[in-house]
């Protein structure tokens, strides 16, 4: 029986918040510079117009829309891991949940920027908000873009709450352990949390209900993003498989992003005791399952299109299999399927390093997949005279790089102010289960234990 309160969990997980190395400032500076360059590219684009990108007639969508779908997809990591594993009481999720939820929150914020970035007149984006306007016009609820507005905002608000509520007890912890500006800041953020049983019960009830709600929300979000494409009669877009296809791809890319992020913080913040190989192994197995599912959907799509042999789809299909876009297509297949498959299936190979390599491949492969959904179809739409192609220019590349830098920067800043592993949930992980505790009490009462 423990006679002293063990504070090692608290100490270990608070250390990154309370101590800062020089490397942190260097990393922040570099990432901030890249993000700033992305914003200047955007400002340049707003001033001169979308014409500074590679968008043209008839390929009106390119990198920006690819990035939109990609980042919204990455945001599906947190939900799956956190919500589903909470509901099924999988205890290995404890050190992983906040890492994942943070990815969701920031990936959503970054993804939600891209509808603004791709607009021709972004200063009028507020017309998507449903409010009684003097023009007597409301948004067109028949448009998938308005569905996007509602879905992404719902998901963003829910995810921020999902991330923020379980952080309150950790804020209280930091409030009690610090003085000065930290004590005052976390004092406000902890909202007066005391930790009474009632408060804990209500928090856990709210988390349980939100877990139940956020799973259908997440599935609906990426389905609705897929509707941006499948609602248009464009070759290889107008497919009924798009909803599930996109959701599976999102979860796939989300887990890959989570693996990469977890490996980095494990090394950088010395959290080897908490983020153990078993966590990577479990996520690796999930990622393998997603890779197979993704492959299944791609095979479905391509077989049905090829077999159907309709002229207006075949040009788009062949461009990806053998034509102009085929190098990208086969790279994608390698990154999403051929590379991860052995690394994740063969137990001897399934080290943390191998899982990270496979995950990097998946992130690249899934970005390519979004690009290959959008651009080849638009290139081969309509009458052959009007077919075209697309090449990105520097503003798109700058903004793409800035989006990755922004993710890293936001994550870095987050881990500096909030423990990246949920401290109170780790402590709960040490508790005996309810049955065991009751048995211990019985045994004590019967005098069998001291």
């Amino acid at each position: 029986m423990k006679r002293t309160a063990d504070n090692s969990i608290t100490d270990d997980l608070l250390r990154p918040v309370l101590q800062t190395s020089k490397a942190f400032f260097v990393a922040v500076a570099i990432l901030a510079a890249i993000v700033a360059s992305g914003f200047s590219a955007w400002a340049y684009q707003i001033y001169y117009g979308i014409g500074v990108t590679g968008d043209n007639w008839p390929v009106f969508w390119g990198f920006h829309e690819t990035n939109f779908v990609f980042w919204i997809g990455i945001s599906h990591a947190g939900t799956l891991i956190s919500a589903i594993l909470r509901i099924v009481n999988a205890t290995w999720r404890r050190p992983v949940t906040r890492c994942a939820e943070v990815i969701t929150a920031f990936a959503l914020m970054i993804g939600a920027m891209f509808p603004l970035v791709h607009l021709g007149r972004p200063w009028l984006a507020w017309w998507l908000i449903p409010y009684p306007s003097e023009r007597l016009l409301w948004p067109n609820y028949r448009s998938p873009l308005v569905w996007d507005f509602f879905a992404i905002n719902t998901y963003l608000l829910s995810s921020l709450l999902f991330l923020g509520l379980p952080a309150i007890p950790d804020f209280a912890l930091i409030r009690d352990r610090t003085t000065g500006w930290r004590n005052s800041l976390y004092g406000k953020l902890s909202l007066g949390w005391q930790g009474t049983p009632k408060q804990w019960h209500r928090l856990e009830s709210a988390m349980h209900l939100m877990s139940l709600a956020i799973i259908p929300i997440a599935i609906s979000v990426h389905t609705i993003v897929s509707f941006d494409f499948s609602m248009a009669v464009v070759p290889m877009w107008h497919s009924t498989i798009f909803g599930p296809y996109f959701v599976v791809g999102a979860i796939f890319s989300g887990i890959a992003a989570l693996n990469i992020v977890m490996a980095i913080i494990r090394k950088a913040l010395h959290l080897e005791k908490y983020l153990q190989p078993i966590h990577f192994q479990n996520l690796g197995k999930l990622m393998l399952a997603m890779s197979l599912l993704w492959g299944y959907f791609v095979f479905n799509e391509r077989l049905v299109t090829w077999y159907g042999n309709t002229p207006h789809e075949m040009a788009a299909l062949w461009s990806t299999q053998m034509g102009r876009y085929s190098p990208l297509f086969w790279t994608m297949v390698f990154c999403n399927f051929i590379l991860p498959f052995p690394l994740l299936t063969i137990r001897k190979l399934r080290s943390i390093r191998a899982i990270v390599i496979a995950s990097c491949g998946v992130v690249i492969g899934m970005w390519l997949e979004r690009f290959l959904i959008i651009v080849p179809s638009l290139s081969y739409k309509g009458t052959p005279y009007s077919w075209g192609s697309y090449m990105p220019r520097w503003p798109e590349i700058a903004i793409l790089s800035a989006s990755f830098a922004a993710m890293a920067l936001l994550y870095l800043l987050f881990s500096k102010f909030i423990p990246i592993i949920s401290i109170w949930e780790m402590k709960v992980g040490e508790h005996p289960s309810i049955k065991v505790a009751a048995k211990v009490q019985e045994a004590e009462a019967a005098g069998e234990l001291i």
Binding site: G51, N140, S386
Partner: protein, 235 residues
Amino acid sequence: MSHQWGMAVDLDRCTGCEACVVACHSENNIPTVGESEAARGRAMHWIRIERYWEGEFPEVKVKFRPVLCQQCDEAPCEPVCPTYASSHSEEGLNSQIYNRCIGTRYCANACGYNVRFFNFLTPVWDKPLHLQLNPDVSVREGGVMEKCTFCIQRINAGKVASGLAQRPLVDGEIQPACVQSCTANAMVFGDLADPESAVSKLANSTRGTKLLEELGTKPKITYLQRESWHETHSG
């Protein structure tokens, strides 16, 4: 019953001269984007002549087809616009309302005919070309979608003139710029709701087909050709 504007284009008469393209540009204040932008695929021709070669030398044939906004009755570009910038008018036209457009370009992707164009950059008219701008048509700014309107300004002017003169519209009185300038008289414009109009009769012609009819968009332009697709490909 309100007017339902439609068009008939006779492919057997079209010579591919592109007078319609030029006329459309000048009537509707469409900018010429310049050589480098055109090379990037940003040219804006609300009406274009699609040219296709058929056969091997010396049995080569050339086919011309003027393609412009089909003013579809079930336009795929209309439901997808988040701000109602693309909607259907009571006279059967697909209205592009520039003021509402925020430039998502979804309508252009949804259009199966690729007849929608985007102002990728702010249009400029070097002096003294700015003097040729048509005062009846707005000048669009960068970030806004545009496309053929069947010269709505001419339709409105015709309706106003006939109203002032207190007489009904005469068939053929209203002519969009392309129809007016066609050197081969290949284009006919009129009211499909009037069974006596020239365009109504041509719409029912056995020489008539619709472009990409299988998309289900119900386009309002009838293309006429001596051999229909069915005649060529059966027997």
